[in-house]
């Protein structure tokens, strides 16, 4: 199929889906709205993580750090009287600055050490939030001003806001995937030294990826905080989030555009079903899901069940007789 046509079809599909999402929002009941917003948030976090963890291949467990940072930055800004939109912008800015500083420090580490470093950051942030009572309200938590209007209005508002962020994250991912930047990230993932020798400014690219990812995650945190109206350190800086997001992306297929989206959808649906029925064994079942994904679908749903893979199975073998 000619390239032009596939592009138009993709664009068309996106518009159809977007319209469906919006219409659903206006027609849904409160539970459905909440579930839909949770799903949107998962999609946002997955797409953002995918840039650092998928394309660039750096195993970041720092999602919770940025999420909590965004939640608290937005929340604190709002308690000081800043209107919500500006508070969210402030959160994005804080996220960017934090990403630059953290990136400069941590991105020098590789593999295991990078992973451990990001976990340590989450823990430290949570403890700071727990103990810095004056700024964050401490372990008791922080209450945010409630959005004016009916609960239904608020529900629809945040639903649309989160899905708008999801759309932004998707478009960002597409832009990255098709650009020189994305190409460079893939080179970095496969062989950092060779990338450097070929002219890629590895450090700059790594920090840029970290910042892009960090801003989106921080925004998600800020919207979440405004939505729930109350945040506390152990929720905002929850290490489980840092684990779930990579698992979702892995489930879908890391390093692709739609993989994070599919992974998020499948996982959230599964989780909602499990929670409803087995609340006591929630984390155990999550554990089982993780183990199952890694054993049986390591490359992700998109890759294990893709059309190209089928074609590869039935195609002739690799080039023989390379004289």
């Amino acid at each position: 199929m000619p390239r032009r046509t596939t592009e138009l079809l993709r664009g068309g599909a996106l518009i159809v889906v977007a319209t469906a999402v919006v219409l659903f929002g206006f027609g849904a009941n409160n539970y459905q709205l909440q579930a839909g917003t949770t799903l949107a948030m998962a999609v946002v976090l997955c797409l953002a993580w995918n840039i650092v963890g998928g394309y660039m291949g750096y195993p970041s467990f720092g999602t919770a750090a940025f999420f909590g940072l965004g939640a608290y930055a937005g929340g604190i800004a709002q308690t000081y009287g800043l209107p919500m939109g500006l508070a969210w912008a402030a959160a994005a800015l804080v996220g960017a600055v934090f990403a630059i500083v953290l990136g400069a420090i941590l991105l020098r580490l590789r593999g295991h050490y990078f992973a451990i470093g990001t976990i340590a950051v989450v823990e430290v942030m949570r403890e700071i939030a727990n103990n810095w009572d004056a700024l964050t309200g401490g372990a008791i938590g922080l209450s945010l001003p409630i959005l004016a209007g009916s609960p239904r209005f608020a529900g629809i508002f945040f639903y649309l806001a989160m899905w708008a962020l999801a759309l932004l994250a998707l478009l960002l991912t597409v832009a990255v995937a098709r650009s020189k930047f994305g190409f460079g990230l893939r080179c970095i993932r496969q062989n950092e030294d060779a990338a450097s020798m070929v002219g890629v400014d590895v450090f700059k690219f790594k920090v840029a990826a970290f910042v892009t990812s960090g801003i989106v995650i921080a925004l998600a945190g800020a919207i979440y905080a405004s939505m729930v109206g109350f945040i506390e350190p152990k929720d905002a800086f929850n290490i489980l989030l840092s684990i779930e997001v990579p698992v979702m992306v892995m489930l879908g297929a890391a390093g692709t555009v739609l993989g994070p989206v599919i992974g998020a959808i499948v996982y959230v649906v599964l989780r909602e079903l499990v929670w409803v029925n087995f609340i006591n064994f929630h984390s155990a079942i999550l554990g089982v899901i993780i183990v199952a994904v890694i054993y049986f679908i390591p490359k992700g749903l998109l890759r294990e069940f893709s059309l190209t893979r089928w074609r590869k199975w039935t195609a002739p073998p690799a080039p023989a007789g390379q004289g």
């Binding site: 650009s179 190409f183 062989n191 060779a194 890629v200 080039p319």
Partner: protein, 265 residues
């Protein structure tokens, strides 16, 4: 062949008590083909690593095309027109052959759009003879072809100075012949080449000049026939039997070299 394209002054690399490269001073003229030889562990690859910024320098200066590049990072040096191949080839194994070469064009060569990079990559794949493998995963290539891919990637960077690190290791005689033709082809486009090699017969038939490294220090530097008769080189590296056995052959090489010099002047 004219003014110097590369000047190294007192380049040294020391780590943990080991001196890998010891105060090497050398200049390479534009358009030259220089052979860098010496026993294993002599510091040849380390020297290239130092010049290309892959490894930090303990002391010394590197001047490329008149500009001091001593403090630059490896990607900056790559963009200025210095490329190198790796002894153990390092492709981007998850990408296709075409994408591997595109990387060179995108980040160091023309540095424009992805579409442009595709065209440049195809051109260089044809140049080295790998165009029919363009869509194959780089990991599926044979060793000889992987070396050619490495070469194509470096060429896509449009370097003016190219370091070849043992491009011929592991090739059979047929593949060697092709490799020789390829190197000549590259030199004809005006690229200055410095090649690290073990196969002396091969090196001698292609280079204008030989530099011998031993224990990290420069042992000899000059025309191939002279260097190979240098008693210090014979003692450290070649052995008298080799020198005697190949004296006649080297004489004929010497004459051929003189012819070349006369032709180009």
């Amino acid at each position: 062949m004219g003014e110097p394209i590369l000047l190294i002054d007192g380049l040294t690399r020391r780590f943990g008590g080991v001196v890998a490269v010891s105060s090497v001073t050398l200049s390479v003229k534009k358009g030259e083909i220089v052979g860098l030889i010496g026993p294993n562990g002599a510091g040849k690859t380390t020297l290239v690593n130092l010049i290309t910024g892959f490894v930090p320098k303990t002391a010394g200066r590197v001047v490329f095309e008149g500009a001091d590049i001593t403090q630059l990072a490896s990607h900056q040096i790559a963009r200025r027109g210095v490329a190198r191949t790796f002894q153990i080839v390092q492709p981007f194994s998850e990408m296709t052959v075409l994408e591997n070469v595109m990387a060179g064009a995108l980040f160091a060569g023309q540095r424009s759009s992805i579409k442009n990079a595709v065209d440049r990559a195809r051109y260089y794949l044809e140049f080295v003879g790998l165009d029919r493998f363009a869509q194959f995963p780089a990991a599926d290539l044979s060793l000889a072809n992987r070396k050619r891919l490495e070469l194509a990637k470096s060429l896509a960077m449009e370097p003016r100075l190219l370091f070849l690190d043992e491009v011929n290791a592991g090739l059979n005689s047929g593949e060697l012949k092709h490799a020789l033709e390829l190197i000549h082809k590259i030199a004809e486009t005006g690229v200055t080449i410095v090649m690290i090699e073990h196969l002396l017969r091969f090196v001698v038939s292609v280079v204008h000049r030989l530099v011998v490294l031993h224990h990290g220090a420069m042992l000899s530097d000059g025309a191939p026939a002279d260097v190979l008769q240098d008693p210090a080189v014979i003692k450290a590296y070649l052995g008298t039997k080799f020198a005697q056995r190949h004296k006649a052959e080297l004489e004929s090489q010497r004459l051929k070299y003189q012819e070349q010099v006369q032709q180009s002047s």
